[in-house]
């Protein structure tokens, strides 16, 4: 423990995004979780996810920790290593006396030498790159300046220094000559933003990338007009494939940004638009796993789309079903929902709640999404009924009648369900409005209100005509104050 405190580069612990709450989630048969699937990813996100995972699920903390340590030592970010250790400390603290976890230095000794070595290498590399950048800037060769900036940005990114990386990418923008460059830059920035989970900036870069993408495809197409006829069709397919790759990446980025900002409907739309897995290329491993895409897409769709839309977009969507294959329980959820077996839906969601909670993109939204899906289920369930016993409804959902009543009252007050609760007989009764009488009432009200408004406006007009308007404060203001004082010598309402 002393070693850590002395360590000069010990930065403050893992910065938590706004409303992550650390609570312990069980992982057992009722809540299955597949650590290996997580481990099959690549890149920095894996370690990030593991770091998020460790304190929340102490039961598999040890395995996760070992996996993470292995990965981290392959990269060059020492702060990440320390974050990892800190996270494990938290897990130990949380696990407490019930199920004590072995302290980390029993699992793997704190590799001080690796830390020192990496730090040294990092600073060397940094100096080297900066010298390069200086040379190129003095040479004024645009292309090499661009590449130097890009290398520096990559370097800072792997160090975990997001701000500097972003700065370099911004400088990079100035030196971009072709739209291909712009495209590359945008994609790298998007990767960076996704790692950082900085959802707000993603749309800006997507917007930058799209015209660049169009320009590139056009130029590729044009340049292919030249060569022989046999080559041209081949070129066209390749162009389309290239374009699709980039487009899918952009779609994924947009979708994640919408999810991050809570715009579930838009997120669902974007997720369902993403092309085949192949098109995502290396992002499929580095950023988000295909099974995750399936989960995000279905959850957002269930929470925001009406049933017909779900049927057409999710079930009958060829490319999306490839994703669904990755995670079979998603298909079960959707089918149960369509068949109105809401109890099954809720059960499956509950079972996989751990899986959802430990996901870095999804965890802050899981509660909202589940709540939305629940409310929709309730509304859908009640639609065909004129009146229904609260008991039968609670059976259908697997809740106690009291809990159901609370939910229903909430929905009625929010205006989603047009019904009233008969508390004595425990019945939910749909509201029937007499349209004709309501129409009459509205008409009368409108008539009298219009007359009153007209009268007031006439008076106002006359006042203005007679120039009886309120003027700037001189004596008149004081006298008006005086008048109100006169009137109120005593409170008239006591």
């Amino acid at each position: 423990m002393d070693i850590e405190i002395d360590e000069p580069e010990f930065i403050a612990p893992l910065k938590t995004t706004s409303n992550k709450r650390r609570y312990v989630l069980p992982i057992d048969d009722a809540h299955p979780f597949d650590l290996d699937a997580l481990g099959s990813g690549a890149g920095r996100t894996v370690v990030d996810r593991l770091i998020y995972l460790i304190p929340t699920c102490p039961t598999i903390a040890t395995q996760a920790f070992q996996l993470a340590v292995g990965r981290t030592t392959q990269m060059r970010d020492t702060t990440l290593y320390q974050n990892l250790l800190y996270a494990y400390e938290q897990a130990v603290a949380v696990a407490g006396t019930g199920n004590p976890l072995p302290a980390w230095n029993e699992l793997t000794p704190f590799d001080q030498s690796w830390v020192d070595e990496t730090n040294r290498k990092n600073s060397e590399e940094k100096i080297k790159l900066e010298v390069e950048l200086k040379t190129y800037t003095s040479n004024m060769i645009k292309e090499s300046i661009r590449m130097a900036h890009r290398d520096l940005a990559e370097f800072h990114r792997s160090m975990g220094d997001y701000q500097t990386a972003l700065k370099h990418y911004a400088k990079l923008r100035e030196y971009c000559a072709t739209s291909q460059h712009v495209l590359d830059m945008c994609l790298s920035v998007l990767e960076l933003l996704l790692e950082q989970r900085n959802y707000a900036h993603i749309p800006t870069y997507v917007f930058k990338a799209e015209p660049a993408l169009d320009a590139t495809t056009n130029s590729l197409r044009n340049s292919n007009q030249g060569p022989t006829a046999t080559q041209a069709p081949l070129g066209k397919e390749k162009i389309a494939a290239e374009r699709e790759k980039v487009q899918s990446k952009l779609d994924l980025a947009t979708a994640l940004s919408h999810l991050g900002q809570g715009a579930y409907e838009k997120a669902a739309g974007s997720f369902l638009k993403i092309g085949p897995i192949k098109a995502l290329g290396d992002w499929a491993k580095k950023v988000v796993a295909p099974s995750d895409i399936a989960i995000y897409g279905t959850l957002c769709a269930l929470a925001s789309y009406p049933r017909s839309a779900i049927k057409s977009h999710v079930l009958n969507n060829a490319s999306f079903s490839v994703y669904i294959e990755q995670e079979p329980y998603v298909r079960e959820v959707v089918e149960a929902y369509m068949a109105s077996k809401f109890k099954t839906v809720l059960d499956i969601l509950e079972r996989n709640s751990t899986r959802h909670m430990v996901d870095i993109h999804l965890s802050s939204h899981v509660q909202n999404l589940v709540h939305l899906i629940r409310s929709r289920a309730l509304v859908l369930y009640f639609q065909p009924f004129a009146s229904i016993k609260l008991e039968s409804m609670s059976l259908a959902f697997g809740w106690t009648p009291e809990y159901l009543e609370q939910q229903i009252v909430g929905l009625i007050q929010a205006g989603e369900i047009q019904a009233r609760v008969d508390k004595q007989n425990r019945i939910l009764q749909a509201k029937r409005t007499d349209q004709r009488a309501a129409l009459f009432a509205r008409a009368m009200k409108a008539g009298s209100e219009m007359q009153a408004t007209n009268r007031k406006l006439l008076l106002r007009m006359r006042l203005q005509q007679a120039d009886l308007v309120i003027k700037a404060p001189t004596k008149p203001q004081q006298s008006s104050l005086g008048h109100s004082g006169e009137i109120h010598q005593s409170d008239p309402y006591r």
Partner: protein
């Protein structure tokens, strides 16, 4: 005459009233007498004497009759609103106070702010929530209201009596100083009724005990009394059974043919009036001059060149149609 009467204001109420009824050409003209009379009435707390004058709404101004100032308009309507409020005729009070608040001008007068505060309280009594004043109110006024404790009260309304009293208690000195404490207390008294009204929307039957819990009143007897009074004043439709469950029913108002005919006749009369007004204005010299000048510019509503409040009336009235 007022100064002469001095302390014995109530002596002059009779003569003032006669003068006020006979002096203006029609009851709907505003004169300088009106505010003087009203002020006298309110200070002496003889609110009912002002009733005959107040019951004809003002919509005519003729400056040739007397030297009117904008203050007369303000004071008359303010005092009128106060009088109606004291008589518990809330609807009319609201209208008068609203006229005071919406009087035209570049900047608001202090009395308008007082009127606005009272208006908020009256609206809470009438509707259970404060509605925004019409579009042509001075925006400074609205901003000024936002900073006062009336605004916080309006936002917190309706809640249980205890929590409202707690909210009010903080600002109780302000309320007392502005002589509004009585109104505020009435507002709080009526809070349970609005809570119960809300309950009728979600529940079909509810036990008295449950209502008591929601509304925050301790005794069931009190709750029963409130429910009964609400049924009597036709705020809600309910029936209380022997074992203390209240069943709410909705009933939409039924309108007889006579009522509708009357309403239609009134509307026709008013539209007639408006048409005549428009005709006179169309023939006025100033309008014709401006209309010809702008004929090339736009086809559109040229009336708003002259008086920009007039054509807005129809669009504002439309907004209220489906509220």
């Amino acid at each position: 005459m007022v100064q002469a009467a001095g302390e014995n204001l109530k002596l002059i109420l009779g003569p003032l009233r006669d003068l006020a009824t006979r002096y203006p050409p029609t009851p709907s003209h505003l004169t300088t007498l009106h505010p003087i009379f009203l002020t006298a009435c309110v200070t002496t707390r003889h609110f009912a004497t002002a009733l005959p004058i107040l019951s004809s709404p003002i919509f005519n101004i003729d400056t040739s009759l007397s030297e009117l100032s904008y203050n007369d308009n303000l004071i008359y309507h303010y005092a009128g609103g106060v009088a109606f409020g004291a008589l518990k005729r809330w609807r009319e009070a609201e209208e008068f106070l609203e006229i005071c608040v919406t009087a035209p001008g570049q900047i608001p007068a202090a009395i308008q702010l007082e009127a606005l505060k009272k208006l908020t309280l009256v609206q809470l009594i009438l509707y259970g929530k404060a509605t925004a004043p019409p579009k042509y109110t001075n925006p400074t006024l609205i901003r000024m209201l936002k900073n006062t404790s009336y605004h916080t009260l309006a936002k917190a309304y309706p809640q249980t009596i205890s929590s409202l009293t707690a909210t009010v208690y903080r600002d109780i000195d302000i309320f007392k100083a502005e002589q509004n404490l009585g109104l505020v207390q009435q507002v709080i008294q009526r809070a349970p009724r609005w809570l119960i009204r809300r309950l009728t929307l979600t529940y079909l039957t509810l036990g008295l005990g449950d209502i008591a819990k929601e509304v925050g009143i301790e005794s069931e007897e009190e709750v029963r009394a409130v429910v009964v009074s609400m049924v009597e004043s036709e705020d809600i439709n309910a029936s209380i059974s022997v074992d203390g469950t209240v069943t709410f029913t909705t009933s939409t108002a039924q309108f007889s043919k006579a009522e509708i005919d009357k309403a239609v006749a009134q509307a026709q009369a008013q539209s007639q009036l408006l048409q005549e007004l428009e005709r006179t204005m169309n023939s006025s010299k100033e309008y014709l001059v401006k209309a010809i000048k702008h004929k090339d510019d736009a086809w559109g509503p040229d009336e708003d060149v002259m008086f920009n409040t007039h054509p807005g009336g129809s669009s504002w009235a439309d907004e209220n149609l489906y509220s």
